[in-house]
């Protein structure tokens, strides 16, 4: 995506988000007006979750901002083409988990890596980790779901991502991958 195009889609996304917010608040106001007995519970619950978000989101955003400025994406990606075997899968997971932006940023990176000769299993692990094992995401999960839930889901996810990576590597020929030579 070019800079200008990206900025325009971002402005459109923000307008869409604001519209959804407005709509939700309006629907909420109507519902609360219909059930006045529940008003207190609705407001108290919303307030409780708002406070909890306010306590953690700025810190998470700051960490992501710092990482984005101090660790260039190329540096992260450079290491992925070089390893093989199970080690490559775990490296893919580790690098994918770093706080580096939304998933659509990862697809072109993954394609470029495949073109350079990275293993399919490594790239699948990288993409999957990028999608669902992001470090900031784990922090928020810890905050809201507690340690046991977060840790159990993290371990199970890593386990299944490893299996998935191996299965997909067996199933896909390099020639069938768009990025492949």
């Amino acid at each position: 995506m070019r800079g200008g195009e990206q900025q325009r889609t971002q402005a459109k996304d923000i307008r869409k988000d604001l519209f959804v917010l407005l709509l939700t608040v309006l629907v909420g106001a109507v519902l609360v007006a219909l059930f006045p007995a529940r008003r207190h519970l609705v407001l108290a619950t919303a307030w409780k979750f708002l406070v909890e978000m306010a306590l953690i989101l700025p810190a998470v955003m700051l960490l992501m901002g710092l990482f984005n400025v101090f660790v260039p994406k190329d540096a992260v990606v450079k290491y992925l083409g070089r390893t093989a075997g199970l080690k490559a899968i775990f490296l893919g997971i580790l690098l994918g988990a770093l706080p580096t932006g939304p998933l659509y940023v990862a697809f072109p990176l993954a394609a470029a890596l495949l073109k350079k000769g990275a293993r399919v299993s490594c790239i699948v692990a990288f993409l999957s980790a990028w999608a669902c094992i992001k470090i900031p995401q784990e922090m928020v999960e810890l905050q809201f779901m507690g340690f046991r839930f977060m840790a159990a889901r993290l371990l199970l996810t890593v386990f299944f991502v490893v299996i998935m990576s191996l299965v997909i590597e067996k199933a896909v020929d390099r020639g069938e991958v768009a990025g492949g030579a």
Binding site: V32, V42, L43, T45, A46, V60, P136, I163, V172, V177
Partner: protein, 160 residues
């Protein structure tokens, strides 16, 4: 304030102090970037907060647990999994939503499946994934992720 809150805030501040000591200009740029992403996600955060308030305040526990609770069964799980795959909610705000569902009577399995499909599978981003990586790899990754999410959820329900 919970321990988690304190630890994450202290960590963020310590990292920022370290960054500031090393390179002021870069640290300032990181701060601007953080502020921008914060503003960017704010409408979605407020939306989810309102939805959570309405969900916990208006919908009876019995209704929620009938659909996505222990009684929800396989159909409930598949519904939740598909919903997670199709919806395009930033994962950061998915967790408060998940926590509220749990509080409202959803099962651990349903909540874990929802979070996992929500993050791992992107129907909205699938065309882009196909274009960049080819149809076979993209469809396999998303399809297997769906199965993995179901397995993860069921196992979570057994463990916790």
């Amino acid at each position: 304030m919970s321990t988690t809150t304190v630890v994450i805030n202290v960590l963020a501040l310590a990292c920022f102090a370290l960054a500031f000591a090393q390179d002021r200009a870069k640290a300032r740029r990181a701060l601007v970037l953080a502020f921008r992403s914060f503003l960017r996600i704010l409408p979605a955060v407020l939306t989810v907060v309102v939805v959570i308030g309405l969900l916990l305040g208006l919908v009876p526990k019995s209704t929620i647990s009938r659909i996505v609770g222990e009684q929800g069964g396989v159909l409930g799980l598949l519904t939740v999994a598909s919903l997670g795959a199709v919806l395009h909610i930033p994962s950061l705000i998915a967790f408060p939503l998940a926590a509220s569902l749990l509080q409202a009577g959803a099962s651990i399995t349903a909540v874990a499946v929802f979070i996992t499909t929500l993050t791992m599978i992107g129907v909205v981003t699938l065309p882009l994934e196909i274009r960049e990586l080819g149809a076979k790899m993209a469809l396999l990754r998303n399809g297997l992720s769906f199965l993995a999410a179901l397995a993860i959820g069921v196992l979570m329900g057994v463990i916790l």
